[in-house]
Symmetry: C2
Amino acid sequence: MKLLEDYISEKGRLVGKDIVKVDSFLNHQVDPLLMQAMGKEIKRLFADTEITKILTIEASGIAIAVMAALELNVPMVFAKKNATKNLSSDVYSTTITSFTHGRDYDVRVAKDFLGKDDKILIIDDFLANGAALQGLIEIVNQSGASVAGCAIAIEKGFQDGGKKLREKGYRIESLAIIEGFADNKVLFKK
Amino acid sequence: MKLLEDYISEKGRLVGKDIVKVDSFLNHQVDPLLMQAMGKEIKRLFADTEITKILTIEASGIAIAVMAALELNVPMVFAKKNATKNLSSDVYSTTITSFTHGRDYDVRVAKDFLGKDDKILIIDDFLANGAALQGLIEIVNQSGASVAGCAIAIEKGFQDGGKKLREKGYRIESLAIIEGFADNKVLFKK
C-alpha cells in the first residue's frame, strides 16, 4: 500500500540500524485518515472472503481494526492483555511471549464474543516473529471459529513470523512489508 | 445521545444493583457504527471550539477517539499505561489510581506529540470518579497545551468526577449520563 509506505519513509524515524519508529502516525500518535485508508484497503483485499467479525489486540491494533470493521460492517473485538494468568472459565485465553518487552503476558477474549460460526479476520499493527498473531489464532481456535485471514499494517519481512504462518496455510495480507534498511532508508518488498 | 442510551438500555447487562456492563458494544466488543455516530456527535458538540489534537488513554478510548479524530480532521494521541513509573525525560507522565482495578498505574505521552500551542480535546469511554480524566488533564498541563474540553461516552452521574471537573471550569460533554438504576433499568439524566 503506497500511502503507508510513504508514511513510513517520510514520517518514520530510524533508530539504530534496523528499527523504524512509527509512533508519530501509527502506534502512539495516530493519523485518522491513514487509519481510514487502511480500513478501505483491508476491505478491498478481503472482498472475496466471508468475514463476520474482526479480532485485534489492545492497544495499537484498535484504531486500524475499528476502521476496517466500519468498512466491512462487522463488529470488532479487542483481546485484552493481562500481566497475570486469567483463570476465569468465561474467557478464551493464551500466553504470548513478547520479545520486544521481554516478558510473557496473558491475552483473553470473553467467550460471549467469539462463536463457532464466526469467520474471523485478525488485524494487528505489526508482524515480526508472529507471537502475537499466533496467540490470536490460538484464541480463535479455542472458540471453534475459523480464521478467514490476517491483515497487518507493517510486516518485518526480515523476521520469520509471516513465513511460518503462511506455510501453515494462513492468508496474511500485510499493507507494507519492510525488507531491510540501506543508507538510512527503509526498503520495501514490492 | 439517544443512540448510545438505546445501546446501553438494550445491550447493556446489569450486574448487581449499580453496574451496567457495556462490553458487547463499547469496551471489549466494539460496534463500529456506534463509534462513528459518537465521533460525529462529538464533532457537533464542539463545532464552536478550536481543537488541534485529540488525547485519549489506551485501550477503550481509542476506538471512539479515532472516529472523532477522523470527523474533526486532527491527529489522535493515546496515552500509554505502565505498571511501573516512567522516568524517561522525553515523556510527560503522571500516576493514576484506579479504583476499579485497585492499583496505581503510570500514564505517559511522548513530549513530541503535545505542544504548547495545542488545543486538546480529551476523550474517554467512562467518567466516574474522574481519576483518569484528571490524569490526562495533568499531562496536557505539563505540556503547556490547553484543554479545549472533554468528551465522554458514558458518565456515571451518581459519582462526583464530572461535578468536580465542571466546578474547576472544564467543559465536559458526556454522550450519556447514567443517573441511577431502578427496576432493572438504567435511568439517564435528561
